[in-house]
Amino acid sequence: MLKLDNLSARVGEEESEKTILNGLSLEVPAGEVHAIMGPNGAGKSTLAYLLTGREGYEVTGGTATLDGKDLLAMEPEDRAAHGVFLSFQYPVEIPGVPVMTFVRTAMNAQRKARGEEEMSAPEFIKKAREIGGILNIDAEMLKRPVNVGFSGGEKKRLEIFQMMMMEPRFSILDETDSGLDIDALKTVANGVNALRSPERSMLVITHYQRLLDHIRPDKVHVLAKGRIIKSGGPELAEQLERDGYDGILGEVA
């Protein structure tokens, strides 16, 4: 599925540019959920943006492929059509565009790019209702403009709603747990777990272990100074929670 090989990148204008990723290698096979943990400024969000094609980042070395296809050569929308989805840390407001309109337009654009038929309106509405039910999102919320006036928790739930609607093959969850209370965390985790399947994989970026109590990862990687410094099973997250990043960093150094 996803393969990053010795990936290096920097950010910003030439004057103030800064190396963020420094020889990062990582492989997420189909069907697996991997977690990336790390201290602030480790390059976690940069990795998410780089994989989804945000402007402002320059790849200086290495490769990133999804099923052997060069991700870095594709436009953001082509990556989306290939099944790459990002649940944003800070979801963006889109005034005047109702959630339903937005999600449907986006899904049909992806389908069109893949040469598939558009989803019919009744089929779409039925699916939206079902998923809304799982995530505690009512019809009223789906009529409101995307993220406008939404609480932090509502915004995160809406990200997961979109993910479940689009059924991406490879999802990146960037700090989805931040700003969520414990009930919302469980709701979101239920959604994410419902999407797990042998042909899908996920990369869960987080600071804390608490999300991983609900979304059990197959592997945990520690990202620091732009590369993976340690990988392990779920127990690594527990160790991090206990000893802190300093403990791990000291151990590796």
């Binding site: 945000r54 963006v92 407001e93 889109i94 005047g96 937005f102 899904m107 654009a109």
Partner: protein, 511 residues
């Protein structure tokens, strides 16, 4: 040309030139129709005005009215306070009258130049009523059925080609309801008492430089009268097309809704792509008597000039509605995407007590376009209310100004206004300006004003593209969201068209 455009490395000049050529082709209405045209002599003097009046078969009073306007106009100076720049207009270098040579009236289908019919087809005007236009007996009903069957709603069309109204549809059906819908030239001949009573009663002959010029030389336009208590059974629509070269278009529209009447009127405009500038100086007057309501919608897509600002229409228009009776209502909705320079303020005079004025506007500028547009709400009566929602979108190197006035006079007890002006900037080379004037002579006036300026953000664009939309689609989606409050006020058929127009107007505005 390529010097002033930022070009990404590795793209050669030919590619840029080819892309630019395509940009101009975005204007799908930019073809011209080759038909023989009859002109008045170039330039403006009393003889030309007499020529126009005579061509129209006008009575003496109309000619006198025009000549008085002309006399006045000669002593006026062209105003210059708007935030627009354009090359000085040589008023003696314009044709003030141009008409398809075969004449405005067609007795049979063979008389209508094929080129005109083709033009309508290209423009997508619903001239399925072609036979009606051509005056074939009995065709009226057939065409009416045909259209109703398809969309469930009817739109009657008056088409003005350069200076002449070439076709008005559904006339018979409207007559049954008592609605008069015809070209203003015909109305001057057939309903002189109504025209004399209302013409110039909202926009006086000497109102302003361009309105006065229009009063002297207007060649055609639309006249609507909806009698007392009648709800006009269909949308009325006029389609304006400037075709001939070096021609000014000066149409005059007069709409009267008598007591308790209702009418919804749509206006659409296009012009061919030409290298020289063309002047469009229309006057629109609306009169709403007691309990009457007029809804006036415009989709303006005059040729905006090329990407370097060459050519394009100067759109200097005076539009004003008079809520003359108590509880009357006038609502302006406009979608302005075209013209090189736009200078217009559809306004409401809230004379009747409890009357309401509304202004909903979307103004898009791209390339080198300039728009200075807004509204005036003049509160004279008691308990009058007005509402202004303006959405300006600037892209390219354009300038977009909202200029508005809310004025509350001494006798206007408890007047209320709500104004919202939002500007959206796409890219870093364009400008948005908001100039709201408020004059309140009473302490009990309630005036609210909200204004925002936002830049189409990289964050929004990326978010939308991450979900699978291409760059152009992403911009269109964000812009449609931005203008949604205004779009909702357009009649259904028009809203779809307007949405497409927005997308086309903003193509190539990012990246």
């Amino acid at each position: 040309m390529a010097d002033d455009v930022k070009v990404k490395e590795g793209i050669d000049a030919d590619t840029v030139a080819a892309a630019k050529a395509l940009q101009s082709e975005n204007y799908s209405a930019g073809f011209k129709t080759d038909i023989e045209t009859e002109y008045a002599p170039k330039g403006l003097n009393e003889e030309v005005i007499a020529f126009i009046s005579q061509k129209k078969g006008e009575p003496q009073w109309m000619l006198d009215w025009r000549l008085k306007a002309f006399e006045r106009w000669q002593n006026m100076t062209e105003p210059g306070w708007a935030k627009v720049q354009y090359e000085k207009i040589d008023y003696q270098d314009i044709y003030y009258y141009a008409a398809p040579k075969r004449g405005a009236k067609y007795e049979s289908i063979d008389d209508v130049p094929q080129e005109i019919l083709d033009t309508y087809e290209k423009l997508g005007i619903p001239l399925r009523e072609a036979e009606v236009l051509l005056g074939v007996e009995g065709a009226d009903e057939t065409a009416a059925e045909a259209r109703t069957g398809e969309s469930g709603s009817k739109v009657a069309v008056d088409a003005v080609f350069d200076s002449v109204s070439v076709a008005t549809t559904f006339r018979k059906e409207l007559e049954k309801a008592g609605v008069i819908f015809m070209s203003i030239s015909e109305a001057i001949r057939e309903h002189p008492e109504l025209v004399q009573k209302y013409l110039g009663s909202v926009v006086p002959r000497s109102d302003n430089f361009f309105a006065t010029l229009n009063s002297a030389v207007f060649s055609d336009g639309t006249f609507v009268y909806v009698p007392e208590g009648v709800r006009c059974p269909m949308e009325l629509s006029t389609y304006f097309r400037m075709n001939a070269e070096n021609t000014g278009q000066f149409e005059r529209t007069l709409i009267i809704a008598d007591k308790g009447a209702y009418v919804s009127y749509l206006e659409g405009c296009t012009a061919p792509m030409r290298d020289e500038n063309q002047l469009h100086a229309a006057v629109v007057e609306l009169v709403a008597l007691e309990d009457a309501e007029i809804k006036y919608s415009t989709v303006q897509n005059w040729w905006p000039g090329d990407e370097n600002g060459k050519g394009g229409i100067y759109n200097f228009v005076t539009k004003r509605g008079d809520c003359r009776g108590a509880r009357s209502k006038i609502s302006w909705t406009q979608v302005e995407t075209g013209s090189a320079v736009t200078w217009k303020y559809p306004s409401c005079i809230l004379r009747g007590d409890d009357s309401t004025g509304e202004f909903y506007s979307i103004a898009v500028t791209n390339g080198r376009q300039m728009a200075d547009t807004g509204t005036k709400m003049i509160h004279l009566g008691k308990n009058t209310r007005s509402r202004i929602i303006s959405k300006g979108i600037s892209a390219g190197r354009s300038d977009n100004t909202y200029r508005g006035l809310v004025s509350v006079h001494k006798k206007s007890e408890k007047a209320r206004n709500f104004t919202q002006c939002d500007s959206l900037l796409i890219g870093g080379d364009c400008g948005a300006h908001t100039v709201p004037y408020v004059e309140a002579k009473r302490a009990d006036a309630q005036l609210e004003h909200e204004a925002t300026t936002t830049k189409l953000s990289e964050d929004q664009l990326f978010y939308v593209r991450q979900r699978g939309l291409g760059e152009e689609e992403a911009v269109a989606l964000l812009v449609n969201g931005f203008v949604r409050d205004v779009m909702q006020h357009l009649p259904m058929e028009f809203a779809v068209e307007a949405q497409k127009l927005l997308e086309v107007s903003l193509e190539g505005s990012v990246g």
